[in-house]
């Protein structure tokens, strides 16, 4: 069920995820389109998330935006200081900016980083995690991970988990997506593009997520005039993802765009995405066990020990029965 509408206010609105906005030039969403988008969100009862460009918007835009309850996603590089102060989520695209920033303990931050920078500078994250409400790491080149990278990432997760463990034992509750999310989850909590959220681009057309817009403007799934028109909508759902529906790396973003980029199918993740998610899952499991050595903690959560890092590798042993009953039920209700 749709819950969120992401509105890209400009072609240069900041990226907050795996995709790059590329060489796009400023192209502000027409005010009438913005108002129509807000109206669509109100009619469909959607929470709107505005994604801002790095320059200050005209006042009439700000007025329209403030006419509805919303979240603001803003880049740390934005020139509008007042807007940055109001941001619900702030995006960092590089490490130096993060190291110089005045961080707010009540705010959520996203760090978009290449794997090489993460491998070099991960120790700095200990400090950041302690200062903010939540830090999300987005590895922008996850699809290029090699076996050697997997090993490095495993070690990094282990080192950072020791720091988080100490914080929990000290009574704090840091949120760090790649380590703490899994130990809080009892079911899949993926990105939800095409299912729980949809994106409105400056051209007035809907996209599965901003990445689809930046990759190919023709790849839209409807427009404000005629509404949403998502072909094969079931393929964005977990039940229709043969690998993911067998997976318990619940924190995985299950990036639909990366899926299509790497495997050509929106419902099929790459080996790299699966292994990275499982390294995080296993590190969370280990961390949870270590925290529990200090006392009772999240007793309802169970993360089983498994001997694989990619569910695809054990596909011969998948238990299909229950899942297929769910699928048939879904078919009967939706087709």
């Amino acid at each position: 069920m749709l819950e969120y509408l992401i509105i890209q206010l400009d072609d240069t609105s900041t990226s907050y995820c795996h995709y790059e906005i590329g060489a796009k030039e400023h192209k502000l969403m027409p005010l009438e389109t913005l108002k129509a988008g807000i109206r669509f969100g109100m009619l469909e009862n959607l929470m709107i998330q505005f994604v801002y460009p790095d320059y200050k918007l005209p006042d009439d835009y700000a007025a329209a935006i403030e006419s509805i309850d919303h979240n603001k996603i803003v880049s740390s590089l934005c020139e509008d200081e007042a807007l940055k102060a109001e941001a619900d989520v702030m995006i960092f695209h590089e490490w130096t900016g993060l190291s110089l920033a005045q961080l707010d303990e009540k705010k959520s931050y996203v760090l978009r980083t290449a794997k090489a920078d993460l491998f070099d500078r991960y120790l700095f994250l200990k400090d950041v995690i302690s200062k903010v409400m939540r830090l999300n790491i987005v590895i922008t080149d996850v699809e290029t991970f090699t076996e050697e990278d997997f090993e490095k990432y495993k070690q990094i997760l282990h080192i950072l988990s020791e720091h988080i463990e100490k914080a929990y034992v000290a009574g704090k509750s840091p949120q760090f997506n790649i380590l703490t999310d899994r130990m809080m989850l009892e079911k899949m909590n993926n990105c939800g593009a095409g299912i729980s959220n949809i994106t409105l681009a400056p051209n007035g057309k809907f996209y599965i997520c901003p990445a689809f817009y930046y990759e190919n403007e023709e790849d839209c799934v409807g427009n404000l005039e005629n509404g949403l028109d998502i072909k094969n909508p079931q393929l964005y759902k977990l039940d229709y993802a043969p690998i993911c529906r067998h997976c318990d790396a619940y924190q995985c973003k299950r990036c639909i765009w990366l899926n299509r980029k790497t495997t050509l199918e929106v419902n099929t993740p790459s080996h790299e995405q699966c292994v990275v998610a499982h390294l995080e899952r296993n590190a969370s499991r280990e961390m949870l066990e270590n925290i529990r050595k200090h006392g009772s903690f999240m007793p309802q959560i169970e993360i089983k020990e498994i001997d694989y890092l990619d569910p695809f590798d054990v596909r011969e042993h998948w238990d299909e029965e229950l899942l297929q009953q769910e699928l048939i039920k879904y078919h009967q209700e939706n087709y």
Binding site: N232, L235, T262, H271, F312, E321, I328
Partner: protein, 406 residues
Amino acid sequence: MGEMQIREDARAWQSGMAKNITFIVTKDCQLACKYCYLVGKNVKERMSWETAKTFIDYVLSHEDDFPEESVIWDFIGGEPFLEIDLIDMICDYLKQRMFELNHHWFNSYRFSFSTNGINYHEPKVQKFIEKNREHLSIGITIDGTEKKHDLNRVYKITERGSYKDVVRNIPLWLKQFPGGGTKVTISSADIPYITESVLHLYSLGIHEVNINVVFEDVWQEGDDKKFEEQLLSLADAIIDGGYYQDYACSFFTEQLGKPLDPVYDNNNWCGAGRMLSVDAAGNLYPCTRFAQYSLREKNAWIIGNIKDGIDKNKLRPFLTLDRITQSNSECLNCEIASGCAWCQGENYDAADTPTVFQRATAICKMHKARVRANNYYWNKLYRKLELEGKREEFEKNKKESNPTIC
């Protein structure tokens, strides 16, 4: 006895233990068959020896990635025998390298061809057959009577029917491959000729007729009724004429038209992704049907190339495809679902989005018609056998048709 042995061998090779690796040696063909799904045939894309050799070297040097016990080296076109010189070089090199590498496929391989049969008699082709006889499967496509065959299988430019040029080679082919089967394709215009065509093929000495309706959305209103009538007439002819004892026609099979269990019958029908194809450009595909010359609407599904090898991520969708995930609820709840085939390539080409997870259902009415005629066939046949006291004997010795669908 010898003939029976060959049939059993053929089934063993198709049982899933063998890797099917296809060389698209040319995209050219003498014919321009009206139902041909190869919409992008051309005379330019002919495989070079360098491309073929690089591909072979890649496959044979990655033995761990190809654990199947056996291999079928398949040659397809266009018309593969247009490139007999290249094919001869490829097969010689394959044999040489499999031996030198002590590859597990050495002595567990087959060369397979599906040909239009036009140049089957030519000395180069015959020399090749003689050289590789023990490891060779060749199927000649002949659609039935001259009228039916020439309705679709015509020469390009002249549009002259090709029947006479094919049928003259049938005796030679059957002498060399006594168990040889033919593949017949049925499109809308062919329906009235089904019965006479199958009987004609039997009369030519072809004992196995593998016949399919095309998967594409070509069917007209009322085609299912006409199809059913033709199959009923064919059933009568086969049973009344006693052909069921020594001949097979894939339209009639006992496994057809039963409900399928959502859990235990959830396999994908098609082998795309478990096969591997290479074309003249050195691009690799999960099946020939995903090469650009086979696709009307979609971009080619390239899974790698001969220099960089296979991108295994691009095979993951194929290797996790199942029946339920790609079927709509009508198919899932269908009480006569068994035997209803699909082609993954056509599914992809016809899908609303670029996906292999949306099953095309253009043959639905035709499958239902086939099931009704199939029910009639087996009810009639078994009653006849019971009355003659021959049912038990028949069940013990009955021949089964080839389940190949593409």
